[in-house]
Amino acid sequence: MRYDLFIAGFGGQGALLAGNLLSYAAIIEGKNVSFFPSYGVEKRGGAAMCTVVIADGDVGSPVIGNPSVMIVLNQTSLDKFGAKVKPGGVCIVNTSLVNLDAFERSDIEIIRVPMNEIAMELGDARMVNMVAVGVYAAKTGAVNPAALEEALKSALPERNHKFIPANMKAIIAGTEFAASKSS
């Protein structure tokens, strides 16, 4: 099985950390993975994107023209990349910051997630990326939550390990949100 994912947002939203976390989880599960980042020259506020390809066998290309799944964290990313989601694919959209009125794709599944609100309810607006990871994991089954919890130890620097439970809570909130949408 192969899973390809494109994550896009602005610098500071944690798009790259989300991609790193999924990659570590894939490695823990014994899978192969390729993580290819691209970002603007700015430290904060610029664009931040990454492609993650997870496969049991050969990963193949680290770049994908039409990703099967896309996580869109802000409006610019939807406007710029929304048209690229593969027909029949899935677009996970942070509706807290993204207006979908002008987005006309009837050939893909759009999962609307108020990520900022969910993160704020958990007490930390910075957990937006973790909510997104939870939704993605539940929707695709690319990695399982237990591997994600283990992966947080590698993806986060030692000094931030005290935040692992909070991150995990946000991931679970994401998986539960995805489950409620599909039931």
């Binding site: 990659s23 993975v33 390729s34 050969d58 990963v59 193949g60 290309s61 023209g65 039409n66 590698s154």
Partner: protein, 351 residues
């Protein structure tokens, strides 16, 4: 199973250099390879290594020449514009038969160009980028694991053949992160460096030079270098063959472009098209034999490069006489990296 790490391609190069016993690095910063000097500047002090950020690329390649002349394992790294500056030094190293590993995490040009992935330095790397008609070993990694393994191999090859080697990567393999098994340095029979300068003492005088003025001296020296290149061709060609046995169309690409092509080939196979991939791992020596063998059966070849056609010339020289070689390439620059979907279209067009 050995624990797999998750690292950047550039870091894998630096890790392999350390494992290979390299303790001398000379370089000057340039995007997209600066993770290599960053890593080594952090790790070398505790290993009693010597990390020097030189005043220029020209200085760093000559420091590499000097260090190598003393018999130690040493390296430099840069990206395309910096590699151009190093060419004079590389020619002197080739002439002096000095080992030394040069890493080019290439970017787009000409001139300052841009920082995006590029394969436009193929000619410069494999045809002898400086003066004098020499060659160096050129290895083209396509994954983070290969960034590690081929850097390790480069250190052995330069010692065995007494010549410089280049790891020719690009910003995709340099910047991406993948699982890495940090293999231990293999046990290899290496010739003693009886030529290395070490302070005469009571021993014989040793001279490392590329100047040969005596009648017939330089011709003999160049014939010797030529024989080494023939030896390399006989013994050191490396390539990856993917679904080539039953292929009606053979795709050939190196480095990151080969990775993109591989997914395009998997997509083509799902649609029932018999497509295979022949990926040169050594760009010099070029795996001529592998191309001749595969094209004895498969008569259609499509070469894909992130440039407007360089390796395709070596493919044309290597294939069976009745094979047709097509080409698809784009000049490097922001946004010109092809996608698997785009290459699938080209596969269909050439099938």
């Amino acid at each position: 199973m050995t624990k797999r790490l998750f690292v950047k391609g550039n870091e894998a190069v630096a890790m392999a250099a350390i494992e290979a016993g390299c303790r001398y690095y000379f370089g000057y910063p340039i995007t997209p390879q600066s993770d290599i000097p960053e890593y080594l500047s952090r790790e070398f002090p505790r290993l009693n290594g010597e990390f020097i950020q030189a005043e220029s690329e020209v200085a760093s390649i000559n420091m590499l020449l000097g260090a190598s002349a003393t018999g130690v394992r040493a390296m430099t790294s840069s990206s395309s514009p910096g590699i151009s500056l190093k060419q004079e030094g590389i020619s002197y190293m080739a002439g002096s038969e000095l080992p030394g590993v040069i890493v080019n995490v290439s970017r787009s040009g000409p001139g300052l160009g841009g920082i995006d992935a590029s394969q436009s330095d193929y000619f410069q790397a494999v045809k002898g980028g400086g003066h004098g008609g020499y060659h160096i070993v050129v290895l083209a990694p396509a994954s983070v694991q290969e960034m590690y393994d081929l850097t390790m191999l480069a250190f052995d090859l330069v010692d065995i053949y007494r010549m410089p080697a280049m790891v020719l990567a690009d910003s995709v393999v340099g910047q991406m992160k993948e699982p890495l098994v940090p293999n231990s340095r293999p046990a290899t029979d290496l010739p003693a460096k009886e030529w290395a300068v070490r302070g005469k003492g009571d021993g014989e005088q040793r001279v490392v030079k590329s100047l040969f003025l005596g009648d017939g001296e330089l011709e003999a020296h160049n014939w010797k270098l030529h024989r080494k290149y023939q030896d390399l061709k006989s013994h050191e060609c490396r390539w990856e063959a993917f679904h080539t046995d039953d292929a009606d169309l053979l795709v050939s690409a190196f480095g990151s472009t080969a990775r993109i092509a591989k997914t395009a080939i998997m997509m083509a196979r799902e649609e029932g098209l018999k497509v295979g991939l022949l990926r040169p791992i050594t760009l010099y020596p070029f795996p001529e034999r592998a191309f001749a063998d595969v094209t004895a059966r498969t008569k259609k070849v499509l070469v894909v490069e992130l440039n407007t056609g360089q390796m395709v010339e070596d493919v044309r020289l290597s294939v069976a006489r009745d094979a047709e070689v097509g080409f698809y390439g784009r000049p490097p620059g922001a946004g010109s990296l092809p996608t698997p979907e785009e290459l699938l279209e080209q596969i269909k067009k050439n099938y």
